[in-house]
């Protein structure tokens, strides 16, 4: 139990780091990386929990997470490339024309 607790703690720290990256960085690529770190932090927690409960379903979930993360990066990068082509900037602060 003790070891798994530490791994879960590692997952939480990674999640906080990823969340901070999303909130603080203004570069769209860095925001995307932050989201990826958050997703993979969840994967680490799943693996630790799976070991703790002696069940395989948590580890199976990690494979799905990898597939989903890859799909999300593919779409996200395509959007970012398209943004760069349109406005020449990948700074998140330049996307503020929609206001009310």
């Amino acid at each position: 139990m003790a070891v798994y607790g530490q791994v879960i703690l590692l997952g939480m720290m990674l999640f906080v780091i990823g969340g901070a990256c999303v909130l603080i960085r203004r570069n769209l690529i860095m925001i995307l990386i932050g989201v990826e770190i958050m997703l993979n932090a969840a994967g680490i927690v799943f693996i630790a929990a799976s070991l703790r409960w002696g069940a395989l379903d948590g580890q199976a979930f990690v494979i799905f997470i990898m597939a989903v993360a890859a799909a999300e990066v593919a779409v996200g990068l395509a959007l970012i490339v398209y943004c760069q082509g349109r406005s020449g900037s990948i700074n998140a602060d330049t996307y503020n024309t929609l206001k009310g």
Binding site: G58, Y82, T97
Partner: protein
């Protein structure tokens, strides 16, 4: 084993239709006009018919998806939503040159995601459904390539949506770490409901849901995304994706054990109250129709959440939530559909007819679209004889019946405030002089068909709600 496959047949129709559309788009270059549109309509229609006609038994695939009548009802509703979205977007997409295979295929995949999220009994399926829905929507929102606003809305929805998915996923991971159960209901019947790890996981799951349903204080992305997205896609986003998450939340609320419910209920109470108050008050000062509809849809979700509180026990709340979800789907689709019909003639540079001043006297310029917008707004305001009145009545009746007096009073005050901004738009439509009329564009046949069917459904559900209520009672029994 055979019945397993019958249960997921609607899902297979949607997935197969989506893949078929991608294949047609890639390999059949000189196809007749409208092939993709017809294929998408037929797939969604077949899935709806299958969901309504055949009954599988139990929970197939090791209890990962549910084949109960609850999820089949919602699959049929989502197919209906996607059919109406397809009808409204046919001409709109042609004019704005995004009617390729990706548009029609992704609509079907997003519908599949909704069906999975609403029918999931296992966290993995719920997450996969939510992600399939979100990833399809990231592309659908930014699909109008020559529009700067759609581009910005796409990137905003992508950042908020992917962060919300990550929070939801981490919450699921923590719940699994603390309970060892991957089934949604099983994990919410944990013996130790005061375990801090469990509470953290539950909080993050609710936060993830809050982002997707755009509850206050997680709603900030909503108005920007709705304003930038093409109008039919915004309608699809505000009805389908939100109702799928509400259905999943309903499963969570009714499945949680009493000690867990004691923890969740005050959170939902607070979110509902904040959502109703902030949604309605911010909608008062909007002067763009799509932003106004965005804040109105936030407030509508607050009313639904209020009735969710009452949905444990005798089922009055659950029946009201399902009934209002159906009505909300049609009236919001109607409002956004009307916006897309009157925006057909706009030049390419401007995304949609959006500013309220552009709607002056529009009821005379476009009699049918104007009437659809007016009826949808009346229904959203909850005025008789529309379906929205019966739906709101059922919601408040359920909340009061379950002794949630304070939130019901907040909700009724919010509903009264909301009448002002809905009527304001209707007044602009009919009581101001017409601006210089724009040349009409031929609206095609699909738009008017969708227009007429929504009109009929809203009025029909206001006059004869009995049959739908009976169906819902059968689902919940």
């Amino acid at each position: 084993m055979q019945s397993d496959w019958i249960v997921i047949l609607p899902h297979l129709f949607l997935a197969g239709g989506g893949l078929l559309i991608f294949c047609i788009g890639a390999f059949w270059k000189n196809r007749p006009d409208g092939t993709l549109f017809i294929t998408a309509l037929l797939s969604a229609g077949a899935a709806a018919v299958e969901a309504l006609a055949f009954s599988g038994s139990g929970t197939p695939f090791a209890g990962m998806v549910s084949g109960d009548s609850f999820s089949r009802f919602f699959i049929a509703l989502f197919c209906g939503i996607s059919v109406i979205t397809l009808l409204f977007s046919r001409r709109y997409a042609l004019h704005r040159r995004f009617s390729g295979d990706e548009f029609y295929g992704l609509i079907l995949f997003a519908t599949l995601g909704m069906a999975l999220a609403a029918g999931a009994t296992h966290w993995a399926i719920l997450f996969l459904g939510v992600e399939l829905l979100s990833i399809s929507l990231y592309i659908l929102i930014a699909i109008h390539k020559s529009s700067q606003a759609a581009n910005e809305a796409g990137i905003k929805y992508f950042i908020m949506g992917s962060a919300a998915s990550a929070i939801l996923l981490f919450g699921i991971a923590i719940l699994y770490a603390s309970t060892g159960e991957m089934g949604i209901v099983e994990s919410l019947n944990a013996p130790d409901s005061r375990n801090p790890l469990f509470l953290l996981g539950l909080g993050m799951v609710i936060t993830g849901f809050g982002f997707k349903i755009s509850l206050v204080p997680f709603h900030l992305w909503t108005p920007d995304v709705y304003q930038g997205a093409p109008a039919p896609v915004a309608g699809f986003l505000s009805t389908g994706s939100k109702i799928a998450m509400v259905a999943a939340l309903l499963r969570i609320v009714t499945g949680a054990s009493p000690p867990v419910w004691e923890v969740i209920a005050p959170v939902i109470w607070t979110l509902a109250a904040l959502t109703i108050i902030v949604g309605n008050l911010t909608a008062l000062v909007q002067d763009h129709i799509k932003r106004l509809l965005a804040y109105s849809s936030i407030a509508q979700m607050g009313y639904l959440l209020m009735a969710l509180l009452a949905s444990r026990g005798d089922g009055a709340g659950a029946s009201a939530v399902i009934f209002y979800s159906v009505i909300y789907a049609f009236m919001d689709l109607g409002a956004f559909g009307a916006v897309s019909l009157v925006s057909l003639g706009e030049p390419m540079a401007r995304a949609d007819r959006d500013s309220l001043t552009a709607y002056r006297g529009l009821g005379y310029e476009y009699p049918f679209a104007g009437a659809l917008l007016a009826v949808s707004l009346l229904s959203l305001a909850g005025l008789p004889p529309t379906g929205g009145f019966i739906g709101k009545f059922a919601l408040f009746q359920a909340a009061i019946g379950a002794d949630y007096m304070a939130i019901a009073v907040i909700g009724i005050i919010g509903a009264i405030i909301s009448i002002y901004y809905y009527i304001k738009v209707i007044a602009v439509l009919y009581m101001r002089p017409t601006r210089v009329p724009t040349p009409h564009t031929f609206p095609g046949f699909s738009g008017p068909v969708a227009c007429a069917s929504i009109f009929a459904l809203i009025v029909l559900m206001g006059i004869l709600p009995g049959s739908l209520l009976e169906v819902i009672a059968v689902i919940l029994s």
